[in-house]
């Protein structure tokens, strides 16, 4: 499934350009250090964090998209950085559990 297809299936609000990159699994954490240690390339990352370090970490581990949950407002500098590195940012009012369920229903699984 591509990031675009994921957007459509989960009805996500895109904050920048939506890529055609293939999604391979999901990683859920609110800690940048967890992501650096455990996320895999292709993972979509679910978090409440909106700081631009989220984009720097997503780029480092080659996560094609970040889903910011619980309606958190994403600062403009975070969106600009995401544009620069080609990471798609999504925002949703759903909480982490609800998004995890939707990802599971869409066939996205955690990767080990």
């Amino acid at each position: 499934m591509t990031v675009k297809e994921l957007q459509s299936k989960l009805n996500l609000n895109a904050l920048n350009a939506v890529s055609d990159t293939e999604v391979d699994g999901a990683f859920i954490s609110d800690m940048v250090s967890d992501v650096m240690a455990g996320a895999k390339a292709g993972n979509v990352w679910v978090t409440v964090q909106t700081h631009k370090n989220v984009v720097a970490a997503a780029n480092l581990v080659d996560a094609p998209a970040v889903i910011v949950v619980r309606g958190k407002k994403v600062p403009e500098d975070t969106v600009q950085m995401a544009d620069k590195v080609g990471v798609t940012l999504f925002a949703t009012d759903l909480d982490t559990f609800q998004i995890a369920v939707k990802l599971f229903e869409a066939g996205v699984r955690p990767t080990t």
């Binding site: 990159t21 391979d24 609110d30 800690m31 940048v32 250090s33 650096m36 240690a37 895999k40 390339a41 292709g42 700081h51 631009k52 370090n53 720097a56 970490a57 780029n59 480092l60 581990v61 080659d62 094609p64 620069k84 590195v85």
Partner: protein
């Protein structure tokens, strides 16, 4: 340091959680940075030589070493505090210039910030090469590369607006001492 004949596939090992702690001397404003493995960041004031160090902040982070999947060589990174991406604050900064040149080639530059006894140092070239190899080998996007460079490429660390990849503001999840 490592067997040259091996093509090396580096994986993280020996992950340990802790806090990056920053302290300032309230006389001369000298700052020092270290990693604490304690359950909560130390906040005690203390005197060391002519300096009086006070707690100035902390962030949760982790340390790791890298082990080669093939030859089992281990490279330690005890001195490394984290990676930082340039924020583009100073057009004449070497890290900024290098980052901009590399962006066009889909090479993403991260500065490795390392400290010894509170003072900033550079990682050795061998270690920077191992980090570059580790992060680039995990990528899936065709043509994309990660380049890890020394922190001393920053023109002025005191005014640099780049931020280390660490978990600032997560202390509400940590019991206070």
């Amino acid at each position: 340091m490592v067997r040259d004949t091996c093509r090396h596939l580096w994986n993280k090992t020996n992950l340990r959680d802790g806090f990056i702690v920053t302290e300032n001397c309230y006389h001369c404003n000298k700052s020092r940075v270290y990693f604490s493995y304690e359950d909560a960041p130390p906040k005690d004031e203390y005197k060391e030589g002519e300096h009086y160090f006070n707690y100035a902040g902390s962030a949760q982070s982790m340390k790791f070493d890298l082990e080669c999947e093939e030859c089992k060589a281990v490279v330690t990174f005890e001195e490394m505090m984290g990676l930082m991406q340039c924020a583009g604050c100073d057009q004449s900064c070497h890290l900024n210039i290098l980052s901009k040149i590399c962006e066009g080639q889909n090479i993403w530059v991260y500065a490795a910030l390392a400290y010894n006894a509170g003072e900033e140092i550079d990682l050795s070239v061998d270690k920077l090469d191992v980090l570059t190899s580790h992060y680039t080998s995990r990528l899936r996007t065709p043509g994309k590369k990660i380049l890890v460079v020394p922190g001393s490429l920053r023109k002025n660390p005191a005014t640099c607006r780049g931020e280390m990849l660490r978990d600032v503001g997560m202390l509400s999840l940590t019991p206070e001492t």
